[in-house]
Amino acid sequence: MIERLQLFGHKSINLCQNIGVSGLFLMRIVTCAPKPFKTLPLLIQQIYFVGVLSCPIILVAALFVGMVIGLQGHHTLEKFAASAHLGQLLALSITRELGPVIAALLFAGRAGSALTAEIGLMRTTEQLDSMEMMAVDPIWRVIYPRFLAGILTMPLLAILFSTVAIYGGYFVGVQLLGIDGGAFWTNMQSSVDFGNDILNGIIKSIFFGVIITWIAVYQGFYTQPTAVGLSQATTRTVVFSSLAVLILDFILTIIMIGGW
């Protein structure tokens, strides 16, 4: 009994410690001295790895998500003879929720895990330590560009996701199922508001970018320098950041709907 209690206490202390360390780590990243001219090439390299290489999976997923919403929406709305309203169903559900969230989940799986594995392997093979030996700050050289690239590319990927998904829904609804194209776009335009729907979706995706890359670089930087530790860190990145995205999405939606 005492041992169980001790284990519980130990885990709680560990959890608090991890949260504290990750907070301090975030502060170190944010406050690290910016060197714009030296950072820019590193940043572009990372945007390529994190953003451009995530494009194929996100765009293909977007196309199919849009198409399936078009199909399901048409199937359901047809019962109420309201299939012309497919456009607003599609645009609202995608720009407000599905675009940012699914793009973030895919981003966590595709880019977050890669970031953790890369930084974790640098830790395991003592590259980060040798950088410090050469008086190169690994936070600035390794972590900062990756963190910034994640924050910058997440909203771009979410915007691309929404666009492609809406075209996917358009393809199924208008081209295949024969809804009137004019009604599709007009209903969409009259119900979607740029500030409330699209901008809020973009704000959400910026928050998701911060939380995913933060978790990914933290898990990579503080990984156990063993093969098992590295695999655990990668798994934790995907699990934690997916959960964090879904929970944060709920909180942000409450804030946004609550007239913020």
Binding site: I44, G51, A81, L157, L160, T163, S190
Partner: protein, 160 residues
């Protein structure tokens, strides 16, 4: 060096593509930038009840969209709803007399919109012009139909 240049080119394409997608979302999906938004003139109409009318609802004449609702607020003296309409094309001239505005519903699940029925155009000797100008008021209005009121009247009529 050569490879890094290609990386930069691809990243540039990526950012441009995302910007184009944002413009698409702004223009085509949300209708934020409507290119003939700026020209046109404003009219007012007082309604006893606007029902579910919303800002940016269409204003139509004979079913053709000619403008949109830009503002709905409550008048403090007589508690009517004052609706501000933006009529897009200056060429749409509405006679002062007999022009009426009604709040209708698109289909059974659709949203509310305003339908304007133009009156007869007559030349008025005293005022010179008889068309509604910027800031003019449509005096004849018909409020939105509220389903509960109709059912209430129906029951009242059946009972009496």
């Amino acid at each position: 060096m050569h490879e890094r240049r290609w990386v930069e080119v691809i990243v540039g394409c990526f950012v441009l593509l995302a910007s184009a997608a944002l413009i698409f979302l702004a223009v085509k999906v949300s209708g934020l930038v409507n290119f003939n938004d700026s020209d046109g003139y404003y009219l007012f109409a007082d309604f006893a009840n606007v029902g579910g009318l919303k800002v940016r609802a269409p204003v139509t004449i004979a079913g053709v969209r000619v403008g949109e609702v830009t503002q709905i607020d409550l008048e403090q003296d007589n508690f009517n709803a004052r609706v501000t309409l933006l009529i897009h094309t200056d060429s749409t001239q509405l006679p002062v007399s007999e022009t009426s505005a009604r709040i209708l519903t698109e289909g059974i699940l659709g949203s509310n919109y305003i339908s304007i029925v133009p009156g007869f155009s007559e030349f008025d000797d005293q005022n010179g012009t008889s068309y509604l100008q910027e800031g003019g008021q449509i005096s004849l209005t018909q409020p939105a139909l509220v389903l509960e009121n109709i059912i209430g009247e129906l029951i009242f009529n059946i009972n009496s």
